[in-house]
């Protein structure tokens, strides 16, 4: 069976890799069942056998969440100015962020726009793990903040779908500063009484978890999503003991009181709509 060779970011690995492998048929990375790709896609990229939630890219996520044809993208043309002029070995960060329609539909790790979910207007920002591990750099920060601005201006709820390895190291401290920037923007939204829903999907770690992901008025997670500050590999290397089963998964966070609810992908639309009815204006 054709297996995707090295998807995503060079050297970045949050094991096990769980993108959907290419081909007509695929094996579920959780239950190893052979699945017909189309069936899985129709099932919102969830394994029909075991309910495992595969990662989906931002455009797919948006299609799954919003009312058909209602998404209007904003700030689409922003790109990083490569502030550090970052190069390593013979590679340059500048080349990495070139938009490549062959590889993916995204040209940054965040897709921001206005949409309707079951008729409720929202500002939606969805992260894309296929673009440099969904990492947050200056563009992600800026698009996020513009989304918040729009939500404040039009008095709409703000929904973020998190899916990221953390801050983008190729932009150095500029990306770290985005943590402060997004949080400060959310403080404004909070003061205006706006609703902010944060949806955590697999994975949400590092600088993204330690900023806007955890600041939701309501925090939802998909089942089995990896959510945490430090990646499991880093923790294991630091403390040198085997990590317990289910560590840093959504269920673990729910147990420890850091998220409000775990919602299956097929229920997301109705749950979010219901929450907006309760808390939105």
């Amino acid at each position: 069976m054709a297996k995707n060779k090295k998807v995503g970011w060079n050297g970045f690995s949050l094991k096990p890799r769980k993108e959907m492998p290419a081909g007509l048929w695929m094996a579920c990375s959780a239950c190893q069942q052979m699945l017909y790709r189309k069936t899985v896609e129709e099932n919102l990229s969830v394994c029909p056998e075991c309910g495992y939630h595969f990662r989906v890219d931002a455009p797919t996520r948006v299609r799954q969440l919003v009312d058909e044809g209602s998404f209007e993208e904003i700030a689409a043309d922003l790109a990083s100015s490569d502030p550090l002029n970052f190069t390593w070995e013979d590679k340059a960060y500048k080349d990495r962020i070139q938009f490549d329609p062959e590889k993916s539909d995204s040209h940054e790790a965040l897709l921001t726009g206005k949409a309707f979910i079951k008729g409720r207007g929202v500002v939606l920002a969805a992260m894309d793990f296929n673009f440099l591990g969904g990492s947050m750099g200056m563009v992600v920060g800026e698009k996020f903040c513009r989304g918040v601005d729009l939500a404040i201006e039009q008095k709409l709820p703000f929904l973020v779908v998190c899916c990221s390895g953390g801050a983008r190291m190729h932009e150095g401290l500029v990306s770290l500063a985005q943590m402060a920037k997004t949080s400060a923007a959310l403080a404004r939204l909070d003061e205006m009484g706006g609703l902010y829903i944060s949806l955590l999907t697999d994975p949400t770690t590092g600088g993204v978890a330690a900023s806007f992901a955890m600041l939701g008025d309501i925090i939802i997670a998909e089942p089995q999503a990896l959510v945490g500050f430090a990646g499991p590999r880093v923790i294991q290397e630091t403390i040198k003991i085997e990590l317990p089963e289910g560590f840093q998964r959504s269920e673990f966070l729910l147990d420890h009181g850091f998220i409000d609810m775990i919602v299956k992908r097929r229920d997301l639309r109705s749950e979010i709509a219901r929450l907006i009815d309760y808390c939105g204006k």
Binding site: R168, A210, G257
Partner: protein, 368 residues
């Protein structure tokens, strides 16, 4: 107080030399040997000692004026570099330590204290790395747990209530990555700090005095002024971590450090920090008092400046400052044609479309 001792640093120890300081160490040894032979200033060796000292100063000047990024990281981690405790004892008067996050515990990696600088009463928040091994273990080598960040926030809210300016002194390799830290919500603790610090209604001044390690540093590092000591560093990821990811080899850290632009000078060029505070020749550890004097001058000046600004204006300024980080995104026309399918006409962005329309002359219909 068991772990946090505010006594001034003990009598000067023998300097620990860094790798790149071999020659300096050699000269120092020669001077020391000559001194041992002859204590007096007029003795037969005096001229030679003076010559060697001059040479040593010159060498230090040369070395420290062209420090590489990696060497800067090494200086910032120097075992004798002044730590928070030195600042607490030498820079501030009448320190009152405050403990505990009222929730889980008291993290020794973050110290919160009331104190006075000049005539100003302030709240001091800082990372504590610990001087000796016992203290280092007690405070986790400066890696804070969630309760540390929550303690910091609780004390900052206290400062807000009573209108005390906040001074944070940053010196941490990063927030602690451990099971307990994750269980107690490390990411949530830092996130809340970022959000709240952006809207605390008192002036906040942050100074990186040693290591500025990623989210762990930023967790107490959002404010109106951000300064760095000359040979400190502030980075999104440790050079070792970056090297492990990009080169698959932690020993490539020097190259990673260079690429990450983590020195004070580079960050000032990127407009991410406001001020670089000068260190004495050969780094802060060679002259603790001068270092602390320079920091004090900076703090007093910034406090005076910030106190003059009305609080609402200050809040707006702080917000605009934070919003300006990385706002230099470029606009591009994104729709590159698919390379495989040339027959499809090029899709252009709206902007490009207008430009093209302007270029092609409009054909005016000719009346027959």
């Amino acid at each position: 107080m068991p772990a946090i001792d505010t006594k001034p640093t003990a009598a000067p120890m023998a300097t620990v030399y860094l790798q790149f300081e071999d020659q300096v160490a050699q000269l120092d040894r020669q001077i020391e040997d000559l001194r041992k032979q002859d204590q007096s200033l007029q003795g037969p060796n005096a001229a030679e000692i003076r010559r060697l000292q001059k040479e040593q100063t010159k060498l230090l000047q040369e070395l420290y004026s062209n420090l590489s990024a990696w060497q800067t990281v090494q200086v910032s981690r120097h075992p004798q570099r002044p730590l928070l405790n030195d600042y607490l004892s030498l820079l501030f008067k009448d320190i009152r330590h405050l403990h505990g996050d009222r929730n889980f515990g008291d993290d020794k990696a973050i110290v919160t204290a009331l104190g006075q600088i000049g005539r100003e009463k302030v709240m001091i928040i800082g990372h504590n790395k610990g001087k000796d091994i016992k203290e280092k273990i007690a405070c986790n080598f400066g890696c804070a747990n969630p309760e540390g960040y929550r303690k910091a926030l609780a004390k900052m809210k206290l400062a807000e209530k009573f209108g005390l300016p906040i001074i944070t002194l940053i010196d941490t390799p990063g927030a602690y990555p451990g099971i307990g830290a994750e269980e107690r919500g490390q990411s949530q603790a830092i996130a809340v700090n970022l959000m709240e610090m952006s809207r605390l209604r008192v002036p906040i001044i942050c100074v990186v005095i040693g290591e500025g390690g990623s989210g762990g540093a930023l967790g107490i590092g959002v404010g109106d002024r951000l300064a760095m000591l000359q040979y400190s560093y502030y980075s999104v990821i440790s050079p070792e971590g970056c090297a492990a990811i990009l080169w698959h080899d932690g020993s490539q850290a020097p190259r990673a450090a260079e690429a990450l632009k983590l020195t004070a000078k580079d960050l000032q060029n990127l407009k991410l920090i406001d001020t670089v505070i000068a260190e004495p020749l050969g780094g802060a550890h060679r002259n603790v008092h001068d270092t602390i004097y320079n920091v004090e001058q900076f703090l007093l000046k910034s406090l005076a400046e910030l106190k003059r600004i009305k609080i609402d204006a200050l809040m707006e300024k702080r917000y605009q400052k934070i919003r300006s980080f990385g706002s230099g995104c470029v606009e591009i026309s994104r729709l590159k044609p698919k390379t495989t399918d040339i027959s499809i006409p090029k899709k252009l962005s709206a902007k490009a479309e207008i430009e093209q329309a302007e270029e092609t002359p409009v054909e005016t219909p000719v009346e027959s």
